[in-house]
């Protein structure tokens, strides 16, 4: 079926360059594993620097690879605008995670070596996912990413909550990947191929395959993807996992793997299943509304900030699903932009939480943050920018992202979904405002007065995310235009 299969067995230089980010990440991950036992305890920081450098190199390689776009390895992998956008996004998320983890690991007395190696492998898996143009490779990428992140969730092995979170995440996650794999098997049965392009062609051809089989397969994959993006009604795991996971890992989970899962969700459903879009649109419509509503209303009653952010991340997945429901290029571009914006503002928020929580994550109640705004004005102001962006106040990335999503939705005549979504975002304002209220309008409590100055790594992560949030909010064009081009 593919003319250049024989030559494809020996990868060309161009193909290797297209795969360069993954190569860098894998080698660096292995290198860190090897170096780990050799470094003295006081030199462990070097491993952090090394992983930072590797991620930065991978980010650079992702951009460089875009100078020669095209398929690699017999069309299993493709470098295009879409995959480049997400590769840059997930490697950037990795960089920010390293920044916010370094101090955290020292504080909690955790071994940094395996942690960084797992992080690199997870990011590598996400890079494979977003570049995959074929269902088997996509599945492999997803598994690499997921298994690494299961371990990261339970990385603090003396913490009961972390153990529970890891186990829950692992069990439910494997269950969901099984669904996905069933879907892949069925579509292979129906069309005889796992290539997304070939599936699309088969569905569009006159000799259409058995629609029932295709529909069942799409539904199974839908379940798998919905789990990975924590969209309702498959969101149950998210609050427990985000709350139990170490804070930097929770930040990572809500940004990187989620963005990558959305990327493959978008790619599979808009390219392979694009022609039966009118069939799956109502499902996504319903899930979008359900995710926004459940996420926002459940977040209203949370007193633990990590749990609140977890529920709100379900709501934000709902907004992105609104963009998917639009089934248009603008919708895809809006989803991409929003995922980027969300990664920035959410990592910023989690970085602030990591700074505040102290050893053993003692201070996680929203009320603990009383008076932070005037006790540590700079971190609090940066945190506030992220919060305002999560609310969707103009001049922040979150606002423009939402604006663009609902614009795409209205263009596709989804008037009710738009109205309900916007009202939902007004509900969301309430619980985010509570954080601002506590930080600025309450008198400082014990938790705030005993707070040390912010460490360099976390400070850098907060500065970068807050500045990025503002930059994307005021000048969205630079990212948006790339997303629009990539979505075509």
């Amino acid at each position: 079926m593919d003319a250049n299969v024989p030559q494809g067995l020996i990868p060309s230089a161009a193909e290797l360059i297209r795969f360069l980010p993954e190569i860098i990440l894998t080698l660096a991950g292995v290198l860190i594993m090897v170096l780990e036992p050799l470094t003295p305890p006081r030199g462990k920081r070097t491993l952090g620097y090394l992983s930072f450098a590797a991620l930065a190199a991978a980010l650079g390689a992702s951009i460089y690879a875009y100078s020669m776009p095209g398929p690699a390895f017999s069309g299993m992998l493709v470098v295009d605008g879409f995959s480049t956008f997400f590769r840059v996004l997930v490697t950037a998320v990795g960089l920010l995670t390293v920044l916010s983890s370094s101090h955290f690991l020292e504080r909690e007395g955790a071994e940094p070596g395996e942690y960084y190696a797992l992080l690199l492998f997870s990011v590598m898996g996400q890079c494979v996912m977003v570049g995959a143009n074929e269902l088997i490779l996509l599945f492999i990428g997803l598994e690499i990413s997921s298994i690494a992140s299961y371990v990261m969730t339970g990385y603090l092995r003396d913490d009961k909550r972390a153990n529970e979170a890891a186990l829950k995440y692992f069990l439910l996650g494997s269950f969901a990947t099984a669904f996905l794999l069933y879907g892949v098997a069925l579509i292979y049965g129906a069309t005889g191929t796992t290539s997304l392009i070939a599936i699309r062609a088969a569905l569009a051809s006159s000799a259409r395959p058995d629609l029932l089989l295709v529909a069942v397969s799409a539904a199974l994959m839908f379940v798998g993807f919905m789990f990975k993006i924590s969209g309702a009604p498959f969101q149950i795991w998210a609050p427990d996992v985000y709350q139990g996971a170490p804070t930097p890992v929770a930040a990572f989970l809500s940004a990187g793997p989620k963005a990558a899962a959305f990327a493959i969700f978008l790619r599979v459903f808009s390219s392979a299943f694009g022609s039966i879009g009118d069939r799956w649109e109502p499902l996504v419509w319903f899930s979008a509304l359900l995710s926004m509503t459940i996420g926002n209303f459940a977040a209203l009653t949370q007193s633990n900030i990590k749990r609140m952010l977890a529920y709100s991340s379900i709501a934000h997945a709902g907004y992105v699903l609104v963009a998917m429901t639009a089934r248009s290029e603008d919708g895809s571009a809006a989803a991409m932009f929003y995922l980027g914006a969300y990664a920035l503002m959410n990592i910023g928020a989690f970085a602030a939480v990591a700074h505040f929580s102290r050893k053993g994550e003692r201070y996680l109640e929203i009320n603990d943050m009383a008076g932070l705004g005037f006790r540590q004005p700079v971190p609090a102001a940066l945190f506030s920018i992220c919060i305002l962006s999560l609310i969707g106040v103009p001049l922040t990335a979150g606002f423009f992202g939402k604006f663009y999503i609902f614009k795409a939705a209205l263009q596709s005549n989804l008037i009710w979904l738009t109205v309900l979504g916007l009202l939902n975002s007004a509900v969301g304002a309430y619980y985010y405002l509570r954080v601002l209220v506590v930080m600025y309008m309450h008198e400082p409590g014990e938790a705030t007065t005993s707070l040390q100055p912010i460490t360099a790594g976390l400070g850098a992560a907060l500065w970068i995310t807050a500045a990025g949030t503002l930059a994307l909010g005021i000048f969205p064009s630079m990212v948006l235009e790339f997303a629009i081009k990539a979505a075509q």
């Binding site: 008037i415 738009t418 309430y430 309008m441 000048f475």
Partner: protein, 510 residues
């Protein structure tokens, strides 16, 4: 770079400057804020002479096309000046009142000025929305951090009410963009006028309502007014002043700028209902004000009543009604602003807002009593003072449209005399309790400086309307023409879809 850009840039630069000043040097911070706001005010004084030529239109975001497009006409001109005048006054009255978190307070005041001026200048729907929301954040903090006991409740209520109203406006704006292909106010108006953009009656009605609810909450129109007394009572004086004088005008300004010209049919269809609510607001606000034991709450409810007049004038669809409404917007900004300032002065002396804690204040503080009396009389609508002109025009416009409306609205005028004079009597005349004698002293120089400009304006606007009214009238004539143009177009057969006129065809304000 036009004058308007400067008016936006200076407060923003001032905001950033204040962030970098040392935290503990309160004097420098206050002085810097005052100087910045005075520079803005001085610059804005040139605006009445040049406003027609001052406009900037550059592309801000290419995809979807969003412009940084600002301009001023007779409608926005005086509102911009009102904002630039009241900001230095707000800074002056906070001089000694704000002792905690000084830097943030003044920084937020300048950020608020930036947002307010932007709202009145924006000629791009998206830009308008941005400023609309941006002005929300500093006010939220002003109320929530420096307010009185129930400040947090008031601040959150204020934020959520406004936010809930404005998200639907955002949806309506996006819908218009998808239909018209632009966010530019002038272009949308032009294509509506030429019929290139023909909205069905149902579309027009829904879009009108989406905009209207956002503005009605801000005005606030009965029964959406409940956030206002809370916000006013809990806010620090400067917050109340900016809120009453300028921020409420965002709502009525929006009605005039967007609801009327863009959706004239729907506006006319809804007018009887809206006017009914406005009249209920006039009388209800006045009656509630009558029984308030708390001065700030009394002034807050009087605002509900006064703003009812503005809405009545707007939806009378007559030249006098619109002129009166705009004039009344300015009047309310000046006289209610002054009332809040004076009530703030009393609070700083006696640390109470309850009327029963005062009495005979005119003995220890005769000048304060005099200025308060002038302001009270202005607020009641005494001829030769400013409110009289506005109220008269509104009533005349309302009478032209429907005589019954004017009759009911006039009750509000009578009631306003009752509650204001009664409060004045209980506060300033009679026995002087020991507490008052001990704490109340007359106006200081700084306090004089803050209130005198407003008193001068009350007299000026009441006795020499030619300075202000002609430009307002011209702008209102334009709006009414639009209302009529669009009505004429609507009856004709649907025109070809793709013939959209150039953006320059309609320049607002001429």
């Amino acid at each position: 770079m036009s004058l308007l850009d400067l008016l936006l840039a200076i407060p923003l630069a001032g905001f950033l400057l204040l962030l970098f000043l040392p935290r503990d040097d309160h004097r420098t911070i206050r002085t810097a804020a005052l100087v910045v706001s005075l520079i803005v005010f001085a610059a804005s004084l040139a605006l009445p002479f040049h406003y027609e030529t001052q406009t900037t239109d550059v592309v801000w975001i290419r995809q979807p096309e969003i412009h940084y497009h600002v301009g001023a006409d007779g409608l926005s001109l005086w509102l911009i000046l009102l904002s630039t005048l009241l900001t230095p006054i707000a800074i002056l009255i906070s001089w000694s009142y704000i002792q905690t978190r000084v830097k943030e307070f003044f920084a937020f005041l300048l950020l608020l000025e930036f947002g307010l001026i932007g709202v009145f200048m924006a000629l791009d729907l998206f830009l308008f929305y941005v400023f609309w929301e941006v002005s929300l954040v500093p006010m939220y903090f002003l109320i929530g951090v420096w307010g009185h006991e129930r400040r947090i409740y008031a601040a959150v209520k204020f934020f959520l009410y406004t936010m809930a109203g404005s998200v639907l406006m955002l949806a309506a704006m996006i819908y218009l963009y998808n239909r018209a292909g632009t966010f530019d106010y002038g272009s949308i108006l032009a294509s509506l006028a030429s019929g290139a953009l023909a909205l069905t009656a149902a579309e027009q009605m829904l879009l009108f309502l989406a905009f209207f609810v956002a503005f009605a909450i801000k005005v606030p129109l009965f029964p959406l007014h409940t956030w206002l007394p809370d916000a006013h009572v809990e806010a620090p004086t400067a917050g109340s002043v900016m809120l009453a004088s300028v921020m409420l005008k965002m709502g009525t300004y929006g009605l005039l700028r967007f609801c009327l010209p863009m959706f004239p049919q729907a506006a006319r269809a809804c007018a009887p209902w809206i006017v009914t609510l406005a009249i209920i607001g006039i009388i209800y606000g006045a009656l509630v004000a009558l029984v308030q034991p708390n001065m700030k709450k009394l002034v807050a409810y009087s605002s509900v009543s006064h703003l009812g007049f503005v809405v009545l004038g707007i939806f009378s669809f007559t030249q006098q009604g619109l002129d009166g409404a705009v004039y009344q917007m300015l009047n309310h900004g000046i006289s209610t602003g002054a009332l809040f300032i004076l009530v703030g002065y009393l609070y700083e002396r006696r640390h109470s807002l309850e009327i029963k804690d005062f009495g005979g204040v005119s003995t220890p503080a005769p000048w304060l009593a005099t200025v308060f009396l002038i302001t009270t009389l202005a607020s009641i609508g005494l001829p030769t003072l400013n409110n009289f002109v506005g109220e008269y025009l509104v009533l005349q416009g309302a009478a032209q449209a429907n005589f019954t409306w004017a009759v009911f609205a006039a009750i509000g005028v009578i009631l306003s005399a009752c509650y204001m004079l009664w409060m004045y009597q209980r506060t300033f005349y009679g026995e002087t309790p020991e507490e008052v004698r001990a704490h109340v002293h007359d106006l200081s120089l700084r306090e004089w400086a803050a209130i005198v400009p407003l008193v001068i304006l009350m007299v000026w606007m009441g006795s020499y309307t030619r300075t202000f009214l002609p430009v307002v009238s011209a702008a209102n004539t334009g709006i009414l023409q639009h209302v009529d143009v669009n009505r004429r177009i609507q009856v004709k057969a649907p025109p070809p879809v793709n013939a959209r006129p150039a953006a320059q065809e309609i320049v607002i304000g001429r």
